[in-house]
Each structure stands twice: as C-alpha cells, then as structure tokens.
Amino acid sequence: MFVAWRDLRFARGRFVLIGSVVALITLLVGFLAGLTGGLASQNISGVLGLPGDRLVLQKPATGKPSFSESVIDSATRTSWRAAPGVDDVTPVGIVQGRASIHGAASAVGVAVFGLPAGAPASIVADLTPTDDDSVGLSAGAAADLGAQVGDRISIAGSDYRVGRIGGDAWYSHTPVIALSPDAWAGVDRRLGGDGDPTVLAVAGAPDWDAVAASTDTTAMPVLTSVTALETFTSEIGSLGLMIAMLFGVSALVVGAFFTVWTMQRAGDIAVLKALGASTGSLVRDALGQALVVLLAGIGVGITIVAVLGSLAGGVLPFLLSPLTTLLPAAIMAALGLAGAAIALRTVTHADPLTALGSNR
C-alpha cells in the first residue's frame, strides 16, 4: 500500500470525486432500503408477529393462497389439531375495517385480528384481550386513533374498551387491533364474513406437506407466507428492482473509474514490475486503494442515511436497522471491489519490458 496511499494523496481530487459518487449511490441505496424496510414492516409486521412455526392458509381452487380470501372451517382446524407432531394450533382471524375513538367524527383504517388469549407469546398474541368487550391496540393503532387505555372505541358499529396498548404490528399498511375470537367473529360477520378464522398459526413439526394436502391448505413458514399478501409482493418487487439497479450502477461506475485510473498508471506499473515488484504486491495495492475509496464513500453515505433516517422516521415509514444499512453497505463494498477487479487485468498483464522503451 506504499504507492497506493501516496497516489490517494497525490490525486486527491479524482479520488474524492469517485468517493463522493460512491457516497451518493450508497445514500440512494440506503434510503431506498430503509424506505422499503419501512413499507415492508407496515405491510407485514402483524403477520410476522403471529405465533407458531408456520401459517396455514386455505388453498384456493385456482391461483395463489391469499390472506384476504382464506377461510379456515372447523373441520380443517380439527384436522390440523389432530395431526401428529403438531404442538399448538392458534386460529387467527384477520379482517380489515375501520375504527374510531368514541366521539370522534372520522374513522381510521385498521386490521382487526382475532385470536384466543393464551396463544404462545408473540407481538400480536401479547395484544390479545382476555374478554370479549376489550381490545388490544398496537402502538400504531393507538397513535392513529389517539386512544389511551380505558378509552372506548368503536369497530364496525360495536363499542369496546381499550384494555391494553402493546408493541408495533401492521398488516397491509393498517395498524393491528386485537380482539377475542368471539368478538372478532362478530366484527367479521358485520363486515360480511362468516366469522370463521382466516389463518392457523401452527407450532410443532408435523409432516407439513401431507397434512396441508389432506386439508386443502398450504403451510408456509411465517417469513415466506408474506408473499400471500397481494400488496407486499408488488410493492417490494419494484423497490427491490430499483435497489438492485443501483447496486449494478455502483459496480459499473467504480469498475469504470478504476479501469481508466489503472490504465493511466500502466506505465508506472510496468516500471514497478521492472524494478522487481511482485504482481501480488501490485494487485494488493490496487485492491487496497479501491477498498479505501469504497469504505470512505460508503461510510459517509451510510452515516447520512442514518441521520436522515432517524429524522424521517416520524414522517415516513422508514426502517433503520442493520438490515437496511450494514447489509446494503456490505453489498456495495463487495460489488465495488468486483468492479475494481476488472482493472486488475492491466496490472497482471503489464509488461515490464515496456519500461525500457524511450517513448513512455
């Protein structure tokens, strides 16, 4: 790194420029990732907050299983409960509706979850009230309604008391409100449903596929089950595509810069080889230099993302976590290095004989 460091200092301007480009792309990627994460969490954190190892949905005659269309009848519940290897089955009802705080003129959209008290602990299960007259509000629901414990709210024409306010859980961009199964069945019927739960949260280790096939259901791990949320796939798909394109752009930009830079240095590289520099040491120098530029650019970019993200968190759905900062940063660094590696051809192929020529 002897020459690499001095080149960095000597050609400061050029390296600051490419570092800034890297920082800018990192900023874009980080911001998009944070936004994607935020949107995703507003879409699916309620589903991810359900108990159990897998979620069982009704398998429609045609098309993909869907949270909004699934209905689990009592025969299916019984079959799953009876299947060998199943430890626990929690029937969950999910329906979207509107709720308003007592006396307020306007209503807010909410996701009404119904599940029995005493289900295995999870974010949503912990909201669940023990009686039919109470509701548990997720933090987002409480904030949207402006409700506190003890307030009365109305959902689909019935009044409930706010029994507890818990963690954050969202479903399809609406905050989660948890009810007892009977209260939920009432809400579902008033909204046009038949009161049957829509999902089973199953814990244990049964022969998932066999039981699912015999009951006309699908049993997906909680994380993959979110593809059954129509809005989620399309939303995350397009944002994910943008992020992937930005990754590609950054690899290209860094690769192009270091290719041109290394070609400019081809004469120096030939001289160093003629003086006895091993190809290994020259490659280390070149990659080390690229890594310094990348880490500096990415570091600045991620710092700005973290600052902006914490500011934007109140206004936008923005998720600031290692998954939306460190992971994109690591991918940027890896892709950038891969881009810089394209330039290594010039280093490994430089012919020290050319250093002897008089027309450098």
Binding site: F2, F10, V271, A274, L275, G276, S281, L356, R360
Partner: protein, 231 residues
C-alpha cells in the same frame, strides 16, 4: 559480476523472425563500467533487456553470481531483479506521486520478504541521496526536479537494494552535454565505491572517459575484442 554467454534473441517480424541479438557473449566485472555502443537498432537495448531478465533469450545463459537468470521463472526473475539488479532507464521513470526520498523507500515495498528493516532502508536512502548530491531535494516530487536531478534520483533508486549488477540504458540522452557528463562521472564513481558490475549503453561517445571497457554492437553482434578505453 554479470556474464552473458552466447545470447541469441529474436523477435517475430511478419512470417520471419528478426535477430536482435546474435550469439553475444560478454562479461562485466565488479567495480567497472562496461560500455555498450553501436548504431541505432543494433541490439543494445535488447542485450540490456536480456541482462535485466525483462525478456528471456532464445538461447544462451545470463550468469548473475552463480544463478542462470535466463532459466528463471517469471516470479523468480522478478525477485532477482528486486534483490540483485539495479536498473536505470533512459527516461528517469520516477513515480509522479512520490517524493525523491519515497522513490527510494518504495524499493523496500515491492513484495517478497523484505530483506532489511524499513529503518535501515531509510538510512540507506538518505545516504544515497547524499551520494548523488540531492540531500536538499528529498521532499520534492519529480515534477519539481530538473531532468538531471531526476536521473540522479533514478540512479540512487537503482542502488537502494545494494545490487551486484547495475544496468543503465542511455542515461544521458535527455540531458545536455554538461549534465550528461556529471551523470556519467557519478555512475563511474558509484560503480567503484559500491563495486557494482555496471553495464551501460550509450550511442554517443562524448562521455567515453567514464567508461572502463567499451563493447561495440553492430547488427546484433558484439565486437569480439572489447578494447580498453584510456582514461
């Protein structure tokens, strides 16, 4: 000491091959400047390139100490250049981002197990810059040095790793006559002081006093009788 033993080197030229070096044998002893002269295109640089292990000859041997440098692999030749051969190019070939002193220090950073400690290289670099009369210019970059000063830095750089062999290709071609004479005298002095086997190419003979031996190359063939130049 470096000995070229029956070296032949050809280059592809269309369908045929052109013979740049034709059965050349020569010996450059330690402490002596052996000059190689001859018309343009006669094969002088080619001889130097073979001696420097920058190109492998078609046949013949290059003895540096008791190593046949012509038979070495690419990597071993690189290591040999690093440790045992100093090269001064026609152009100074300094690195633009390094100061005069750093041009010398970089010689300890070229890879391989460095033979000497960095502190020792620093001392040696200062000593060499002193020897070429540039102690006052150690922190200047090539762009801030004159052509003659650059060539002095290049000579000092070639000597940092204490090579047994010093190969010099037309060191004065970019300099005026006076500056050229100084460089030649410097090379002659350092050759004696450091007992290097110096092989020096020059096509004009204004500075022949600085040469101890002179070999003339014509059409790739060295004149058999290397004659003593009276100083």
């Amino acid at each position: 000491m470096i000995t070229l033993d029956d070296i032949t080197l050809t280059f592809p030229d269309g369908d045929a091959r052109i013979t740049a070096v034709d059965h050349v044998s020569l010996t450059a002893p330690n402490g002596v400047v052996t000059g190689i002269t001859g018309p343009s295109g006669s094969g002088k640089s080619s001889i130097l390139a073979v001696a420097a292990t920058l190109i492998r000859p078609d046949s013949g041997r290059v003895w540096i100490g008791d190593t046949d440098a012509a038979a070495l692999s690419r990597d071993d030749a690189t290591a040999l250049r690093r440790d045992s051969i100093g090269i001064v190019f026609q152009q100074s070939n300094l690195l633009p981002s390094l100061t005069a002193r750093e041009q010398l220090l970089v010689m300890a950073e070229l890879g391989g197990r460095s033979r000497r400690s960095r502190a020792a290289v620093r001392l040696r670099a200062d000593d060499l810059l002193d020897a070429v009369g540039l102690s006052g210019h150690r922190d200047k970059r090539p762009a801030q040095l004159s052509g003659g000063q650059r060539q002095r830095v290049a000579i000092a750089r070639a000597l940092v790793n204490d090579p047994g062999v010093l190969l010099v290709d037309e060191p004065t071609s970019a300099l005026d006559q006076e500056r050229g004479g100084e460089i030649m005298d410097l090379l002659a002095r350092l050759t004696r002081e450091r007992q290097t086997a110096t092989l020096l190419i020059t096509h004009d003979l204004v500075h022949r006093d600085a040469l101890d031996e002179l070999i003339t190359v014509v059409d790739g063939r060295a004149s058999t009788a290397a004659h003593r130049v009276e100083a």
